[in-house]
Symmetry: C2
């Protein structure tokens, strides 16, 4: 299968982790977000949403949206499970993934930062303050969630899950913007546990062939 | 079961639709977001993420995040299915839901608008422009997605799904902010089809007991 990816895209990073955890080989196709390649007609034919990543299957079918891709992968290639089989546990893992994917990341992605600069005239300092505000707001919620029963070595239990596929890219972003991560010890403990695994390490932006 | 809800919360609206479609009776517990009731310690004990909605089951277990709640409901009460049984179709329905929940709604929710006003000093006009910009950006992507094969009377096929549970609240928001919806005829056709169903109609903000 082919993965349309960009080294710095958090959403693509999530899928790279999932593919690595499941030991699925894929051919990367690079879409340079900072150059706007995702907005070109060629890519619109691949993904009408105009977003990265897209997973193209061997039969030519294409899947959009990182979390939908990971759920599909988990259904088709269930070993190892990234969404637990128990219904309540599934729900918790998804709720952690969505907390990151729906509450934190959308406020800090590239097109939002570009809009703050170009349309709202924010300085680099203003943009950094915006970034850090939403990271702090979101990671405080995540830290509270991870204090609940169910958290183990990883976000949920002692094996990596969909939640960790989202947590790790979010922490990479937070580090890139020099966010203070001291208030989130459980989150950071989980992050460190993930980064000891080759599947997470190999998926990181700086280790991608298109890294700059 | 109990649903912690706020009449104007899009995320709670999604779950109200799903509960209605599945004809599940629930007891609403009102959390006044505009008054900040979700940030109080009492609510933190209900939902550490501090977000609405929360679904409390009869055994006392609590589920967070609207999409995780709807997936749980769909697994526990599968009639009618809101996430299709076919893997590829599941993936498309989820990708539409996530397009709305991860790309459009997060930029326009209450705490972001409050931040634009209080911290970035944006005027009412500036806030409205922000709102309409992200609605237009996101609905253009949604309209392109709905032009793909698979869309029927509803976002996917001829029965309402998780995607429609997300689409309808987003259009309610867009209307509230007087967004121009003429460029999105397929999206609006699906919206109108949904609103003819009692389950969607009864879930709308103005028909909730806590509506102001």
């Amino acid at each position: 299968m082919k993965l349309y990816t960009y080294f710095r895209s958090s959403a693509a990073f999530r899928v790279r982790i999932a593919l690595n955890l499941k030991r699925i080989a894929y051919e990367p196709v690079f879409v340079h977000l900072a150059k706007g390649e995702h907005r070109k007609p060629d890519y619109a034919r691949v993904n009408p949403q105009g977003l990265v990543p897209t997973l193209e299957l061997d039969d030519g079918k294409r899947l959009a949206q990182s979390l939908a891709i990971i759920e599909w992968l988990d259904e088709r290639y269930p070993a190892p499970r990234l969404v637990p089989s128990d219904a309540f546990e599934r729900s918790r893992v998804r709720s952690i993934a969505y907390l990151i994917a729906c509450e934190i990341h959308p406020l800090n992605n590239l097109r939002v930062l570009q809009h703050l600069k170009r349309v709202l005239g924010q300085s680099e300092e203003g943009i950094n303050a915006w970034y850090r505000h939403w990271v702090a707001d979101g990671l405080a919620k995540l830290e509270a969630e991870l204090a609940r029963p169910g958290t183990g070595k990883f976000s949920h239990g002692d094996a990596p899950s969909l939640a960790d596929c989202c947590l790790v890219p979010q922490i990479f972003n937070a580090k890139r913007y020099d966010c203070d991560l001291a208030p989130y010890p459980t989150t950071m403990r989980v992050f460190e546990a993930c980064m000891k695994l080759e599947a997470f390490d190999r998926a990181q932006p700086s280790k991608q062939p298109d890294a700059e």
